[in-house]
Symmetry: C2
């Protein structure tokens, strides 16, 4: 199921990075990671935007697969989906690995 070509992996990671590319959303992700599941009201208390804005951000994160929401009574709880975070990290690792390899090739060429 997983694509072998690293390029396809990169392509899939772009939306995840886009979702992380907002200061408010990054705070929400960090909050959910360190503090565990939380309701919208609780999350709104930590940022400086409206509850509606928080709701929108959570949906963006959900579309990227970074969080998951589940209803509990009258509260909508949100929790992190750590697999996607790992995916993003692996993507950076792949790119960095290529960089390291390029450095190594350069070093070898110079010392030749």
């Amino acid at each position: 199921m997983l694509p072998r070509r690293p390029e396809a992996k990169l392509h899939a990671a772009a939306p995840v990075f886009a979702a992380l590319g907002d200061a408010t959303r990054l705070r929400l992700v960090a909050r959910l990671c360190s503090g565990g599941p939380a309701s919208i009201a609780a999350l709104t208390a930590n940022v400086d935007v409206t509850r509606q804005a928080v709701t929108k951000h959570l949906h963006v994160l959900q579309d990227a697969g970074l969080v998951r929401g589940l209803r509990q009574g009258r509260e909508q709880m949100w929790e992190i989906e750590p697999a996607k975070l790992d995916e993003a990290r692996q993507c950076l690792d792949i790119i960095s690995a290529h960089w390291d390899a390029a450095i190594e090739r350069l070093r070898a060429a110079v010392e030749e």
Copy 2:
């Protein structure tokens, strides 16, 4: 110079993630990482958008500190700035570390 509070680090990383959050830009970054410095014309050959679009993307990446451009004759060469990539990776590591700690706390609480 580096902020101690992890939150400040997160806030600084958001623009980097935003810059990485586009498929074309991610391809450019990967290309520059694995293939070394390249001109705009060379980079344009690898993607399916106009040269102008590539130029815009490169400036976005430059504003995020991910690439650096330098003129060589009539060519504008672009190269990767690996420090920013590491910064993004560290940011994900910090978040994941909090997640791991939360998991550990949960495990400890259950086994208590």
